[in-house]
Structure formats: structure tokens, C-alpha cells
């Protein structure tokens, strides 16, 4: 099947991918890897494929996840590589009954330099051998799964795409609970880096269960324009004796599938710990649905493996990694002293650089492998994205291909051949191009620059690159040589009025002049006040840095604003903004004309209901919810004091269980419950089970809330629920915390599971008291 045909199918319907192979074979008593099983017991592979197809999978993975030569060499099977890959495809096809065959390529298990020892080219060559056989055997698509590092994934991507422009290609990273890969990449970074590449779908698999993976998948979905695929694990593995068990059973797994579909998933499968029963449930839930339409955001940003620099805020690009006039750096470049270069990078970052311009000086004297190592060392060790200031096109192309993230490329003039060459690199390898507002000749004034800018925009359009792939350099010339700096300022203003981003080499303006720092500082201020987006400058110059900070402050450009949620109800605006005094004044005014009960029922309670809805709909952030709750709480307390019966809706006891000292989640829930008019008895953290039950017996609350953050403390919940049963206390128990989920909550004897801070309110309201 060709790439377009596969894409056309995904536009029409969501595909169901199969589930785990490695863990399922272990569960079935096999002790070896799927690649070894494929050689020794191919019938077992075929049987599992058939079971997945029977369960509703309409896409099968070949058993080649660990079949790249580097990984096979670790178990002595490298010489069987071609045989394993070919047979895996044949077996999958034999079992497929029309299901699509996805050639599976997994990571090597080795991290890249400088975290590990592997080079991009070692990865590339290894993956290309596997991809070549998969393509010869005519798989329908290729999927790159479970990668923990963005450079290794990029190598796998190019290994496949360089062989075939006509194969549908999917690329996955795997994330931890904090939403980062092993080498620090966030989903947004993954999205912006791979959106530039000619990949068809991106996605996430492994490491996390469906509940933990969902917010990461949603974040990815917000920023990518590619098709989306997802394969969560069946929970985190639990070691029971010698047996590894995955806790999430098919029914619980399937609960989350609607959310993935709503978040835009085009292919849904399952990973470690799942089996055909999981696939069957996914298939039942998803059926033959069409994919949902997504509304993706665009981010004007560059990245390293572990950080993103967004040009919506002013970006300082350090200029000092340039050997011109620097003897020690020149020696370090020639002597391949990477540590010195990284120290120079760190020094600039410590002083406030967001990104670094990297220039190798006389490029012909430096090996391209060393250049590649320097790029990797700086980006991985310091986290700074780079501006690649490389003049030789062949070297620039070599480095761009091996860049671990989304780079800035410095630069191209508005000269056809030069611009198209570099713009096509941007198109093929990703990134943002700094484009000079000048042609063959140095511009004399703004009008000259404007002609070049317009020509660049025409060229950009002709090759199908959008305006958010370039940053204009308005050209700074030395005033000491007679240039008029105001022409540059006019150009910045013009570009800003067109919504185009700008950057320039600041120090050029004062070349040959005395008191350079003062000139640079003043010029930077003028430029920032006229809309400059970024500057390549010296962060070690305190005078210029002082000008930068004060200019940004004066122009109010150092900060960004969140979307304001304005209600027509003044009370809502007061609680959302934490305007406690105004809220209490308004409550006083209401109390003059209304009974206290009415103030709660008709005003405060509806306002907090609205706040809960806004949070549930994702229109306000967690800090806004907390601020609203703590503000409203004061108003509730004031009014409740005026009601003889107390005026609350009942008492709620809350505690963090014995052994667990993480109480921030518990505290937030307590505040939100109070703000909804309930009386809260907070027993604190690390509370013995017996004390919780004693208090429940004494106070007879309408509900007990328990929080457990750790897997090691979750069992204490069962101690509480068992003891409550023993004492015949029929009080509903709601539980929450990072270690819990719906089914585990039930197993621990809880009545309700609170996934988010507002769920406790939902269940409290549902109680019939």
C-alpha cells in the first residue's frame, strides 16, 4: 500500500492496532525475546497475530521491535538479521486476513553521545538495514516505537525516509510521568521538531498506563499537525514473586479510549502488559469511528533535546561561540577540546542566554564529525538550542541532519541560489532560517532592505514554506563606517508591523568605535522599542544586559498573558482574580437585601459551580481554581456564621494516609470542598488508619476523603476501609492521588475515585443526604 492510500484511510476512520508481544510471550511461558521466538517457534508468533486480528485489530506490528543489528548483536543474533526481519513480515502477512502490516523498528537500547556512546551514523546505518528489508517485503507502513531519545528517533526517521518517499511512516517517543523522555524531551518539543519532518504520524507508546499517558498525549495533540497514534501500557508492572503483572485489565483500559479519540488519535493500540482481550475492548469501544478534527497551535520556537525557546518572548542568543578574535576558542576548535567549548557555552547561559550562536571559524580546518560532537555536547549538556552559524552548505546539511531538536540556521541572503539552498535544508531537516534583508549588495537604506524582504517572501511562497519558518535580520551595519542605524530601526518596525520575527547581530553597530557597550546598549533599546524579537549579543556585557532588561520592562514584553475568562457576573470575576475585599463587600451588599441562605444558594454556590465547570472544560488553570476556592472560602465562612444551624452542607473528613507525607493534593481538595460550602475536618498527613476511622466514627461525616501519592502507601486505604466495615460505618469513601486509578480504588474498598481536584465536589453533590 502506498503512503497516500494509507493516509486516505486514516482520514476516514480510526484504526485499531494490536497489543503487546514481548510481555504477552512472557506471560505465555516463553523466556526469550520475540526475535528468538520467531526463529525457534514461528508458530507462536503467528498464533498471537491471529488472536489480535480475531480480537479486532486492523493493523499488526511485525515482530521486529528488537531486530535492528545493534540490538541483535547483544544477543548474538546479528547474522540472522535479514532472516528474522523477512520471516517476521511473512508471518504477519500470513496471519493478517487483510489487516495492515506495520514494520516495527525499536530503539537500540544505547543512548547517543554525550549521554552514551552511539553516534547518529551508527544508529542510521543499523536502522537502515532493518528498514531496507521491511520495504523489500512490502509492509504497509513503518512504525518507529518506544524511542527514549529524540536524536535516535531522528536517525531512524532519516534511515527510513532516505530509502523511501512512498512509505507511510510513524514515529513514537516514550515519556515518563513528568511528561519527559529519558533525555528530557517534552511532548511539545517532539511535536515541533517532528512536524518539520516528512513523517506521517507521531505518537506515544509504553512506560505509562492509559490514564497517566492521556495528558501527555493531549499536549502532543495540541501542537502537531500530523496523524496521531497511541499505545498505552496496561499500567505499571508489579513484581509478584518472579512474575511481572500489569494491573490494568481490559475493561478499565477501555474506559480511557474515548478520551484518546476525543484528543485526536488516528491509530489506537496497546503496549506492554496488554493482550488480545485489551484489543477486543478497544475495538468494541472505538468501532469504526471517524477521527475527530483537531485545532492545532503553532509555536514559533527552536529546541534542544531538553528545552524549548519560544520567540513569542524576547530571545537572547549568545554570540561568543565564535573563534574570530578569540585565541583560546580557536585552539579549542583546532585541538578538538570539547570541554572548553561547553564551558564557554555554560558561561553565556549562566548570564542569561536562551540560545547560542555556534560558529566554527575556518570550517575547512575542522572535521565534520567533531562539529557534530560539539553540537551534541552543547545541546545535551547545557540544554541550550543552537543557532547554527555554518557557511559551507555541505557542512550545514550534515549538521542539520544530526541536530537533536529544532535548530535556528544562520543565515541566508535574499539571493535566489543561496536562499533556496538553505530554505530547502529547512524544509528537509527542520528548523527556522535567519534571512538577511539584503541581496548581493550591502543595503544603504530601509528601501533597499524592503526590496529584499519582499523578494524573500515571494521565494518563501514559491517553495511552500510558511512565514513562521524564517526570522529576518534587518542588517546592522557599523556606524563607524558611516552607516545610519536608524535605517535598521525602520526595517525592524516594518517587519514587526507585518507580524514577522526579527533578530540581528548587535555588536556590528559599534564596530571600530570607542565605548562599544554604551552604543550597543542604546541601540538595543531603540530596536526593542520598535519590535525587535531577538538579538545575537554578548550576555557577559553587563551594561548591555542592563539595557536589555530595562527595555523589556518598559515595553512590557518580558511577560505573556493567559486568556482571560471574563464572566458577566462580578462575583465570578472577583473569585477568579482573588479580589477578596471586593468579594466580601459585594457579599455585604447582598446580605442587606437577602437572607444568608439565599446569598449562598443563589450567588456563592452558582459561582463556584461555574468555576468548577471552567476548570473541567480546561478554560482555567489549576492555580486559578485554587485562588478562586481560597477566595470564595472566606465569603462562605462569613455568610455561614450568620446562619444559626451553621449553614454548611455537611462535614467532610480528609487525610493523607499513614506513611505518606505528600499532602499538597489533599490540601487543594480540602480548600475546594470548603469553598463549595461544606465543613472540612482536615486530619493532616501521615495519619494512622485507626485515627481516621476513630474520627469518622465520632464525627459521622457525609464522606471521608483519603489521599495516597505512593504505590507503597496506597494499601493503607484498604486498612481504613476494612476497619470502617468492621465497625459498620456506612460512610462513603473517596480516594485520590498519583498512585491510584478507578479500579485500584475499588479494589481498595473505596466508593469513589477522584481523578481531579473538583471530582470530590461532584460526588458530594450526588449524595442524597
Amino acid at each position: 500500500m502506498n503512503r497516500k492510500a494509507f493516509a486516505d484511510i486514516l482520514k476516514e476512520r480510526v484504526l485499531i492496532l494490536d497489543g503487546a508481544y514481548g510481555t504477552e510471550f512472557m506471560r505465555r511461558g516463553f523466556k526469550k525475546s520475540p526475535e528468538e521466538i520467531l526463529l525457534e517457534h514461528p508458530e507462536a508468533i503467528k498464533k498471537l497475530h491471529e488472536e489480535y486480528v480475531k480480537s479486532g485489530a486492523n493493523a499488526l506490528l511485525t515482530s521486529t521491535f528488537g531486530a535492528n543489528p545493534i540490538k541483535l548483536s547483544k544477543i548474538g543474533l546479528e547474522s540472522h538479521h535479514d532472516e528474522i526481519v523477512r520471516n517476521a513480515v511473512k508471518i504477519a502477512k500470513d496471519a493478517s486476513k487483510g489487516a495492515f502490516i506495520l514494520g516495527d523498528i525499536g530503539p537500540t537500547g544505547d543512548l547517543p553521545y554525550p549521554i552514551g556512546e552511539r553516534s547518529f551514523d551508527e544508529y542510521y546505518n543499523s536502522f537502515q538495514r532493518t528498514a531496507k528489508i521491511l520495504l523489500e517485503e512490502e509492509v504497509d507502513a513503518i512504525i518507529l516505537e518506544t524511542f527514549t531519545d529524540i536524536l535516535e528517533l531522528k536517525a531512524a526517521y532519516f534511515a527510513v525516509r532516505d530509502l523511501s518517499k512512498d512509505i507511510f511512516l510513524i514515529a513514537h517517543l516514550t515519556f515518563d510521568e513528568n511528561g519527559r523522555t529519558l533525555t528530557g524531551t517534552e511532548p511539545v518539543n517532539f511535536a515541533i521538531t517532528f512536524d518539520d519532518l516528512d513523517v506521517d504520524a507521531i505518537g506515544i507508546n509504553c512506560s505509562l498506563g492509559p490514564e497517566e499517558m492521556l495528558p501527555i498525549f493531549e499536549e502532543l495533540s495540541k501542537y502537531t499537525h500530523k496523524f496521531l497514534t497511541v499505545e498505552p501500557d496496561a499500567g505499571k508492572p508489579i513484581l509478584k514473586g518472579d512474575i511481572v503483572e500489569y494491573p490494568i485489565k481490559p475493561d478499565e483500559f477501555a474506559i480511557h479510549m474515548d478520551s484518546y479519540w476525543e484528543a485526536g488519535a488516528n491509530i489506537i493500540g496497546s503496549c506492554c502488559g496488554s493482550n488480545p482481550a485489551h484489543t477486543s475492548k478497544i475495538s468494541t469501544i472505538i468501532g469504526k469511528r471517524s477521527p475527530v478534527e483537531r485545532d492545532e497551535k503553532r509555536l514559533f520556537a527552536i529546541s534542544s533535546p531538553s528545552s524549548i525557546v519560544n520567540f513569542d518572548k524576547f530571545v537572547l542568543i549568545g554570540e561568543r561561540l565564535n573563534p574570530a578574535g578569540k585565541k583560546k576558542l580557536t585552539e579549542a576548535m583546532r585541538g578538538e577540546n570539547i570541554d572548553y567549548i561547553v564551558d564557554q557555552a555554560r558561561e553565556q547561559i549562566d548570564k542569561g542566554a536562551h540560545s547560542l550562536d555556534l560558529n566554527f571559524g575556518v570550517e575547512q580546518t575542522i572535521s565534520k564529525d567533531f562539529m557534530s560532537k560539539v553540537v551534541a555536547a552543547i545541546t545535551y549538556k547545557t540544554g541550550s538550542p543552537l543557532s547554527l552559524d555554518i557557511q559551507t552548505p555541505e557542512l550545514l546539511e550534515f549538521i542539520m541532519k544530526r541536530y537533536p531538536g529544532r535548530p535556528l540556521v544562520n543565515s541566508a541572503r535574499a539571493v535566489d541560489e543561496e536562499f533556496f539552498k538553505r530554505a530547502n535544508f529547512i524544509k528537509k531537516y527542520g528548523g527556522i532560517l535567519i534571512t538577511l534583508s539584503m541581496g548581493e549588495q550591502v543595503p544603504e537604506n530601509f528601501e533597499d532592505r524592503k526590496v529584499s524582504i519582499n523578494h524573500v517572501l515571494e521565494m518563501l511562497d514559491s517553495i511552500g514554506l510558511s512565514k513562521d519558518r524564517i526570522i529576518f535580520d534587518p542588517i546592522v551595519l557599523a556606524i563607524g563606517a558611516g552607516a545610519d542605524a536608524r535605517e535598521t530601526i525602520k526595517t525592524i518596525s516594518y517587519l514587526d508591523s507585518m507580524g514577522l520575527k526579527t533578530t540581528f547581530g548587535l555588536s556590528n553597530v559599534s564596530f571600530g568605535m570607542p565605548d562599544r557597550s554604551y552604543i550597543n546598549g542604546a541601540f538595543l533599546t531603540m530596536a526593542i522599542l520598535n519590535g525587535l524579537s531577538s538579538a545575537i549579543m554578548n550576555p557577559l556585557d553587563e551594561i548591555v544586559m542592563g539595557n536589555l532588561k530595562s527595555s523589556l520592562l518598559l515595553s512590557k514584553r518580558s511577560q505573556i498573558e493567559i486568556e482571560r475568562v471574563q464572566g458577566t457576573d462580578e462575583l465570578l470575576n472577583f473569585v477568579l482574580t482573588g479580589a477578596e475585599e471586593k468579594l466580601l463587600d459585594e457579599v455585604d451588599a447582598l446580605l442587606k437585601t437577602q437572607e444568608p441562605v439565599s446569598v449562598i444558594e443563589k450567588h456563592l454556590k452558582p459561582v463556584m459551580d461555574k468555576v468548577g465547570d471552567l476548570y473541567g472544560e480546561g478554560k482555567i488553570f489549576l492555580p486559578q481554581l485554587i485562588l478562586a476556592a481560597q477566595t470564595a472560602q472566606k465569603a462562605f465562612e462569613k455568610v455561614q456564621k450568620l446562619i444559626p444551624s451553621g449553614g454548611d452542607y455537611g462535614q467532610f473528613i480528609i487525610a493523607t494516609v499513614k506513611g505518606d507525607v505528600h499532602d499538597i493534593g489533599k490540601n487543594i481538595v480540602a480548600t475546594i470542598v470548603k469553598s463549595a460550602g461544606y465543613k472540612v475536618l482536615d486530619l493532616g498527613r501521615d495519619v494512622p488508619s485507626e485515627k481516621i476511622v476513630d474520627m469518622a466514627e465520632k464525627e459521622r461525616p457525609i464522606m471521608v476523603g483519603l489521599s495516597a501519592m505512593m504505590t507503597t502507601t496506597a494499601p493503607r486505604i484498604k486498612d481504613v476501609t476494612d476497619e470502617m466495615k468492621k465497625r459498620h460505618l456506612q460512610i462513603p469513601v473517596i480516594v485520590g492521588g498519583a498512585s491510584l486509578n478507578e479500579s485500584l480504588a475499588k479494589e481498595l474498598g473505596a466508593d469513589f475515585y477522584a481523578k481531579s481536584a473538583t471530582d470530590a465536589i461532584k460526588y458530594l453533590k450526588a449524595l442524597k443526604i
Partner: protein, 201 residues
């Protein structure tokens, strides 16, 4: 064992990380509306936290026949994560990083006073601060050695047993005033993290 203190103001934390930790997902920075509250919480954190790190390098012992883990000091480090990251190590660095108990007290004090947002923001800043202290140490270690460093891995992550925290406490706890719960293995002070880095030739 080496112990050193790091002034919190020397630890640079990207605002994006704190914003995400606080729940401002997809925003990238602390929004203007919350800026003064954030600045106040950050100022308190800088004043009351005392980041301190205990660190020691351990040689890796060759495993006996039938043993599959990685052996240092008195412990066996098991699991697939340990195998992939520490498997080739000739020595392993263990580190315990804490911000001290004053931060826990302040977070609790704000909660008691009904200042839940301040309590929450301080907690979020503490979580990122302790992580970035560890990153800083990590970076320093890598810059000073010719050996290849593994990824920094922490007990509780993937299948690296959280019970290893008990060993960290027994080894370093007294020196930097850190305890762990004998059953849940959570640390006190709460903003404390442990980690291994493997070094190979």
C-alpha cells in the same frame, strides 16, 4: 562521602518548568495575573531553602553466578532500568539532595492560614528546585570526568525499586538530616530526591 551546600539563588530553573509544574500547561511562563504571587513565593523559597547534597562514588562489584543485579556497597540494584543504564558501569555515583525542612514547614504554615495558593506555589517551586539542584550536580560530575555517564535514574522510576531509598537514608541521611519512612520509603524533608549515575569506560 562529600557534602556540599548550594545557594538556591545559584540554581537556575527555567520558568517554563515551574509554570508546567503549577499547572500552566502549554503557556510556557507564569502568566501576568499570577506574577506577583509567584515572585513572592520564589523569594520565600530562595530565603528559606538550604539545598544540600551528599554524594559518594562506589565501585561496582562483579556479580556472582546466578546473580543478575548490579552490586555496590551493601546493595543489589535490580530491574530493567538499572540494567540498561548502569549495566556497563565501573563505578556508580549515588546522590541524595534535599532542600531542608524549613520549606515543608512554610508550605504547611500557609495551608494552615488558608493561603492555599501560596502553599501550592511554594510546593511547586520546591519540586523543581530540588530537581534542578540535582541536574546541576549531574552536570558538574559529567564535566569533571572522562568516563561516560549514564542517565540519572531515581528509585521509584520505571522498575528501579523505591525501597533503595532506605539505603540512601542509611548512607547519607544523618549527614544531611534526611529520614525515610520504613514502609513507604518517602523522604522527610519532602523535597528530597535520590539518584544513581553509572560511569563506564
Amino acid at each position: 562521602m562529600e557534602i556540599f551546600e548550594i545557594p538556591p539563588k545559584d540554581v537556575e530553573i527555567p520558568q517554563r518548568a515551574i509554570a508546567a509544574r503549577m499547572g500552566f500547561k502549554g503557556v510556557g511562563e507564569i502568566p501576568d495575573e499570577f506574577r506577583h504571587r509567584y515572585d513572592e513565593a520564589m523569594s520565600i523559597a530562595m530565603e528559606i531553602t538550604k539545598p544540600v547534597v551528599a554524594i559518594e562514588n562506589f565501585p561496582v562489584y562483579p556479580p556472582k553466578i546466578s546473580q543478575k543485579g548490579i552490586f555496590i556497597d551493601t546493595i543489589e540494584i535490580t530491574g530493567t532500568l538499572a540494567k540498561s543504564q548502569l549495566g556497563k558501569s565501573v563505578e556508580i555515583t549515588a546522590m541524595l539532595v534535599t532542600l531542608g525542612s524549613a520549606l515543608d514547614d512554610k508550605i504547611n504554615e500557609f495551608h494552615e492560614d488558608g493561603e492555599e495558593l501560596k502553599s501550592f506555589m511554594l510546593d511547586a517551586i520546591g519540586s523543581e528546585l530540588v530537581e534542578y539542584v540535582a541536574r546541576r550536580i549531574d552536570g558538574n560530575l559529567r564535566s569533571k570526568t572522562k568516563l561516560k555517564g549514564s542517565a540519572r535514574i531515581a528509585p521509584g522510576y520505571v522498575d528501579l525499586p523505591i525501597s533503595l531509598n532506605a539505603w540512601f537514608t542509611s548512607k547519607f541521611g544523618e549527614a544531611i538530616s534526611v529520614k525515610s519512612d520504613p514502609q513507604s520509603f518517602t523522604f522527610l524533608p519532602r523535597k528530597t530526591i535520590s539518584a544513581f549515575i553509572g560511569w563506564s569506560n
